[in-house]
């Protein structure tokens, strides 16, 4: 098992470098050069601007620029006063040592700090969505498999396809309108509520000083965002679970279990469900991963202060260091999600460990 984990982690290294190369190329092509952005002040003279350009190394060939960004330039001599000769050591540590430059918008702050302030919000939301999505999907999938061919099965299949085809921000908006406008207004005359929204329409907690209260005090803020973003996972998992369950239930050991007189609950839960879950571990990685990407939308519509919203804000304000950092960190999280899912899968199915590849 340890060997498998080590091998899986080693495989992540080339992927990580690939990610940094892609992100760097894209950002290099981005409009508006960093020098112009940093010297927006018209009082800065042209020669100072040129000096800054040389100091930042924007005229260097691509691979030099990339290496300076990746591993820093404190080990090499750079031309800091732009006289055409190298004279002093660089002062960049490079992203590998956690130096992502400094944010344009929040002057001087380290993008990594900005992200770590917001990471908690995103992770909290995603864990809740995974929990709700997986349990909801499992329940529906198992029930559909048990009731195969009957009304519940058919409607759950339609629900699954529908859940995949709704644009998530539209669904979010409908939920907001329903809970914030339509229902309170409709129920007010009947003495339920006072016409104000039933649930908070956005944000992670009430705007108070000193950060958010502990999570149990603001669970109601999570209801709408979590339910809305769990729709897709519930749909997907119910479909996988149904298929996996039906496949399992037709195997020989289930027939044996039935033949020796087990109750149907024992057969379905004890033998069927336990084995049917194993192949679904494969989908855990893509699920966590998809959530990180999709959280931009959910965080934007519910003003949830996570890294998705940070990425969105920094793209809009062209804060490139923060954009690059969020993309790199988001990708690393996604990669870790995949690895965690693979390890879970290997733990639950010994065949993977020994063959080395996914079946």
């Amino acid at each position: 098992m340890q060997r498998y984990i080590v091998r899986r982690l080693l495989q992540a290294i080339p992927t990580f470098f690939g990610i940094t190369i892609i992100v760097y190329i894209i950002m290099l092509l981005a409009p508006g050069d960093p020098v112009a952005l940093m010297t927006f002040d018209p009082s800065i003279r042209q020669d100072e601007r040129e000096r800054l350009a040389i100091k930042l190394g924007v005229n260097d060939p691509f691979h030099i620029q990339y290496l300076r960004w990746l591993i820093g330039d404190d080990w090499m001599l750079v031309d800091s006063n732009a006289d055409g000769e190298v004279d002093s050591w660089g002062d960049n540590y490079g992203i590998l040592r956690g130096d992502f430059g400094s944010s344009f918008k929040f002057r001087g702050s380290n993008p990594l700090d900005l992200i770590s302030q917001r990471l908690g919000a995103t992770i909290e939301l995603n864990i809740a969505v995974v929990l709700i999505g997986v349990t909801g999907g499992l329940l529906i999938g198992v029930l559909a498999a048990v009731q195969r061919g009957r009304a519940f099965d058919k409607s759950s299949r339609i629900f699954a396809v529908l859940g995949d085809s709704v644009p998530v921000f539209w669904f979010a908006l409908l939920a907001i309108m329903l809970m914030g406008l339509v229902l309170p207004r409709a129920l007010e005359p009947h003495g339920i509520g006072d016409g104000s929204p039933f649930l908070p329409m956005g944000g992670r907690c009430p705007p108070v000083r000193g950060g958010c209260p502990p999570i149990y005090a603001r669970l109601h803020y999570m209801i709408l965002p979590v339910l809305v973003s769990a729709l897709g996972p519930i749909a997907g998992w119910s479909r996988f679970m149904r298929a996996s369950m039906l496949e399992t239930i037709n195997s020989d050991y289930i027939r044996t279990a039935k033949a020796k007189g087990l109750t149907s609950r024992g057969v379905w839960i004890g033998h069927g469900l336990r084995n049917a879950i194993i192949p679904l571990m494969v989908f855990l990685g893509p699920l966590m991963f998809g959530l990180i990407g999709g959280s931009v939308i959910i965080e934007r519509i519910f003003s949830w202060p996570g890294i998705g919203l940070l990425l969105f804000d920094s793209v809009v304000s062209r804060d490139y260091p923060v954009v690059m950092t969020s993309v790199v960190i988001g990708s690393i999280l996604a990669m870790l999600g995949y690895i965690a899912a693979d390890i879970l899968y290997a733990l639950s199915d010994p065949r993977v460990r020994f063959s080395g590849a996914r079946p």
């Binding site: 690939g18 990610i19 950002m27 409009p31 085809s165 709704v166 921000f169 954009v323």
Partner: protein
């Protein structure tokens, strides 16, 4: 003369008769038969055909039949509700006709979905067959590149790329095509891997077929059914992606209407004119729903084993 003709007729009848009782149908004929009795898929197909026709004939429909166009603004006629006089589906925040904009928007949304899906599928097929057929270092490199590309959350990648290129419909098609091929490639690569060891490929090689001929005449047609299923799902996914990008403001820019940017534009006016939110969203959902249903239906039709 008459006798001869009737003889032919009888022979034809016999032939049909034989056909019915000893069917020897190929994969596609069998699939067609199964689809013919699959009501949900048929319904989804007909809805989609209607949408495609509406989009194709958008100029004719809006200008000739409903006598409206998508650009005329009228300050007085802002936020007209549904079934207003002269504007069947009301008007938007600038007084433009909503029906007409929905028709034109459908053209672009469907067009982007179809074109980008075809493009990414095309790239996916070529790269996948290549990687699966030759294997070795090329395969490893392609695999590494795909894993890398897939590790960056898709929406992140889309957002940062669309900030580079101003997202006109055609650019968006190219971007989606360039980013969406990995799924197809993986599928095609795996299939190619297993097909290339089969007897008929060895036979083709023994007869002197070139590698290119084997790849595109013998392997690709055999995974074609898989590709049709992938295509219908890819179009659906791309229409959703386009709407998500538009919601964030990085999609096709107004005034060019797409269902995505109409929907995100309507969000601001949701209180005054809810139909600006309901209708585009409903159209996106219905279209994608139909495409996914067709994808499922096709899968069942081509491979009844999977359909329980």
């Amino acid at each position: 003369m008459t006798r001869g003709r009737s003889a032919i007729k009888i022979a034809k009848l016999k032939h049909r008769h034989d056909d019915r009782f000893t069917p020897s149908l190929n994969l596609y004929q069998k699939a067609f038969r199964r689809i013919r009795s699959d009501r949900p898929t048929l319904l989804a197909m007909s809805v989609l055909v209607v949408f495609v026709l509406l989009a194709l004939f958008a100029p004719f429909l809006s200008e000739t039949i409903f006598q409206v166009d998508q650009v005329t603004q009228a300050v007085r006629n802002k936020y007209l509700p549904l079934f207003s006089e002269g504007h069947v589906l009301g008007t938007d925040e600038l007084g433009r006709d909503h029906l007409s904009r929905l028709l034109y928007g459908g053209r672009i949304s469907l067009g982007i979905g179809v074109a980008a899906a075809v493009l990414s599928l095309g790239i996916g097929i070529v790269v996948g067959v290549f990687a699966g057929f030759y294997g070795g270092i090329a395969d490893d490199l392609i695999n590494w590149f795909m894993i890398t590309l897939n590790s960056i959350p898709g929406l992140y990648l889309l957002i940062i790329i669309t900030t580079l290129l101003s997202p006109a419909p055609l650019t968006l098609v190219l971007i989606f095509g360039m980013l969406g091929w990995t799924g197809t490639t993986r599928l095609v690569r795996a299939e190619t891997y297993s097909i290339k060891e089969r007897e008929y490929i060895i036979a083709a090689r023994a007869m002197g077929a070139s590698n290119r001929r084997i790849m595109f005449i013998h392997i690709v047609p055999n995974i074609f059914s898989l590709l049709i299923i992938t295509l219908s799902q890819a179009i659906g996914g791309l229409i959703l992606a386009e709407s998500a990008l538009s919601f964030l403001g990085f999609g096709v820019q107004p005034p060019t209407p797409t269902w995505g940017n109409m929907l995100s534009g309507g969000l601001e006016y949701a209180r005054k004119a809810p139909h600006l939110v309901y209708l585009p969203g409903l159209l996106i959902t219905t279209t994608v729903f139909c495409l996914y249903l067709i994808g499922d239906g096709l899968r069942d039709a081509f491979d009844p084993k999977i359909a329980d």
